[in-house]
Symmetry: C2
């Protein structure tokens, strides 16, 4: 079966109705929808509407709260710790990022660690909130353990993404949004679905040996940190994932390492959890906290232009600045629609029946 393509507005209306049906109220309904679908617009299909059924399961199981009272529980002039009250990260994260932005307005920078939250969609949405304020935005989150540290066979870290967004002047911004693994789990899932092998260096088996079996994780294997093996710097990818874990969860009082709760509500929770929920970390830095904004933007535009015009290996593939492919994808998908895999359409149709929210027929061609 082929992908089916839907307009952004169609999926937006459907998703909003689902969240409303799940008990979301007020502006949270629209916010959760906007954040979730920003992943589909930017081409991060694994983190968008395909996860809606997973979020619904978390709420049904009582592991996530559709009406959280999110609040600052600890603060200094440039920092805060936020308790997400078991809300979805889709609404907890924008709250926390806004606190970081407000702190930055006063103190130059703002840094917010979050506990008692759930998955927050793509890091990019939250970091990019800073751009329109002439701030650099930073967002990261821990996640349940799929990744083995260098020398280990044990899954100890999540894919723990980091996003850093930097405003340009006239040039489009720099937006690096990346898992700290060699390959994002979403890419692995695509190969699993097609029953295809992975490249060498993405996963290891339960004994820690390199494998190309896309199903290795189901058999006790693990994703590999960025760098893949010691000789190619996997200890650096491991360190990056660890930094995300510590900033997101040890600073806030969330769960860390192997104790991070799993996303699928049907997977049992870890034993002896040391904290509350999953953790995130956000930063906002005013560019004019370091030098006049106009000077920064002039240099940043030169930086962006120079890198976009770096000499390519092959004239048909220009050098990209982080964020360029996602921005191009967003333009395309707003205009031509969002393609959904038949498995996703089937799952959403089932969810629609279960919650009695009509699922739209697809109304666009690929």
């Amino acid at each position: 079966m082929q992908d089916q393509t839907f307009s952004y507005q169609t999926l937006f209306d459907f998703t909003k109705s689902i969240f409303k049906n799940l008990g979301f109220t007020g502006s949270d309904t629209e916010l959760a929808t906007t954040v979730l679908l920003s992943a589909d617009l930017r081409g991060v299909d694994s983190h968008g509407i395909a996860r809606l059924i997973g979020y619904a399961r978390l709420i049904e199981a009582g592991r996530a709260n559709p009406t959280p009272e999110i609040k600052v529980v600890y603060e200094t002039p440039s920092t805060a710790t936020v308790d997400g009250d078991k809300g979805l990260g889709l609404v907890v994260a924008p709250f926390a990022m806004q606190v970081a932005i407000e702190k930055a307005k006063q103190a130059g920078t703002g840094w917010v660690s979050v506990k008692n939250s759930n998955h927050f969609g793509i890091a990019g949405y939250h970091a990019m909130m800073a751009l329109k304020q002439d701030m650099i935005g930073i967002a990261m989150t821990n996640a349940s353990a799929l990744v083995a540290p260098t020398f280990s066979v044990e899954r100890m870290l999540g894919t723990n993404p980091i996003c850093v967004a930097v405003p340009g002047g006239e040039q489009p911004p720099f937006v690096a949004d990346m898992a700290t693994t060699t390959a994002a789990n979403g890419k692995l899932e695509i190969l699993q679905r097609k029953n295809q092998d992975t490249p060498v260096g993405w996963v290891q088996n339960k004994n820690g040996k390199s494998t190309t079996d896309a199903h290795a994780l189901k058999n006790g294997g693990a994703l590999l940190p960025l760098g893949s093996d010691k000789e190619h710097g996997s200890h650096k990818g491991y360190a990056l994932g660890a930094i995300v874990d510590i900033f997101s969860a040890v600073l806030s009082g969330a769960n860390y390492g192997p104790w991070v709760p799993p996303f699928p509500a049907y997977v049992p929770m870890p034993q002896n959890m040391p904290g509350e929920g999953i953790g995130h970390f956000f930063g906002a830095m005013r560019i004019d906290a370091f030098r006049p904004a106009a000077e920064f933007k002039k240099n940043m535009d030169q930086w962006l232009t120079r890198f976009r015009n770096a000499k390519p290996m092959d004239e048909s593939q220009p050098v990209l600045v982080p964020g360029d492919p996602e921005r191009e994808m967003e333009k395309q998908r707003l205009q031509y629609g969002i393609p959904l895999h038949p498995d996703v359409v089937r799952e959403l149709t089932a969810l629609s029946k279960k919650l009695d929210v009509p699922f739209p027929v697809h109304n666009l061609q690929c």
Copy 2:
């Protein structure tokens, strides 16, 4: 010829005399020495006393200032921009990191961008300054361009290291200090000296093709970002190096990308440089700006213990926490001395004759 081994104190006294002879005054002489030799103690041989002759050349050529007036030129409650007055990063960086620490005492966190500096030794020294204050320390620097972005044949970024240091309670700290490339340039230099091939994935040739020629950089090739190639996430390593470049130099007004001045004083400076000197970026976050320090330390100790005890692939190689090998090396070298390669001994002997500072005979066995 074999390595010759010297006690830390012997090399300290020699290096201090060299810096004094080069015009360093007051406490800067001892500070530059301490920072430089911290690399040798921690086993980062490429960044320690082996670079002394390079620093001397920068000063002789007038490209570095032995008596800089380092100052804060711009600030907010949680940020500052520091002008290094062409000083060596060995003294500029500790000044800037101290500013970050003082800001953090008041505002919860402190963030300092630095322009008009030179190479600062190892990032680890500066980040670790935060540890004894119960703060998380962050240090990064840009460097002259050796690294090609994904899809490019052009050298656009330095090896741009990042260090993040996190205090434990009773456990030794987490200290991740890493170049954002697959392999540090120092590792490449070792293979060049031995005329040995590199592993696949460290370097590319002038056409952007993968090569194992350790001398490829001399012939227009480039180091590869962490991840090595697109399929293994080199765009993430490129993004990390770019973030370091932007935070260190676009925020401060230093040179960035291909305009960063080269370390060897005999290499001509780039044309049309947009800023002043090279740039660094530092951060300090009080752990009790997020939660009571005792709670943080209790969780951090559990984190450190759990990761050090993760199940290894091979019982003879335990899983490490970033910073463990360097801390062990420092213990060893303080006790048994620091081995220097014969080429380094020869260069230091020449420097000693030129500046009329006696070079010690090696006084220890390997």
